[in-house]
Symmetry: C2
Subunit: 114 residues, 2 copies
Amino acid sequence: MFDPVCPSGLTPIRFGDKWYGMIIRCLEHGPRRFSELRVPLRGISAKVLTRSLRALERDGMITRTAYPGPVQRVEYDLTPLGRSLLEPMAAACAWAEKHWEELLDAREAAGHPR
Amino acid sequence: MFDPVCPSGLTPIRFGDKWYGMIIRCLEHGPRRFSELRVPLRGISAKVLTRSLRALERDGMITRTAYPGPVQRVEYDLTPLGRSLLEPMAAACAWAEKHWEELLDAREAAGHPR
DNA sequence: CTGTATCCTCCAAGATACTG
DNA sequence: CAGTATCTTGGAGGATACAG
């Protein structure tokens, strides 16, 4: 998931910052904990993940719930607003899938490899 | 159009760089010249506009045609690929229109004015 | 008119180390 | 475990001046 080799970052469509969209996808099927999120988002640093999560929270896209206990435990979950973003994201993905080749060909022809 | 007072830049959905999407909208109804583009895109500097146009060209979204003559004249036009981006852009706009209030409320509640 | 060439500032993003 | 604190770097974006 989100393999850096699969350069999904080449789409001209972006949601919020670099991770915003991916985090929403990660929460699509239920709440996740801080460190659970770091697995699919390979290589994201704690600082950056925290900042993205705060941004999503500020925008009303996710909720943050801290469970007390001997070991810390924080869960992030999508709000209805955050879930509603899945729709335009699907449109973006549909476009990307359909025009992926065209886009790559154009870039390659322009001398920009990768 | 693209009035800086209407803060359309607050949507969490972006196409390419800051101007990429707006340029595509400007070309929606026919080719435009370099300086024609600078009118709706208030305040964009020549350098930045050039960079965005080059990026769109590199991605196969627009074409650049220079007409020879005593006065220079360059026209930019959408390719089919560029035109195809209008579809996910419409989806993004539909989302923004529908959830605009929700988004603003969330940000305001988070203490982030504007 | 359609750009280049410089210079400057800001911030996203990453690396690393540390904390309750 | 879930972060915060620092530091660094790259590139976006803008201002201004100049060129073919």
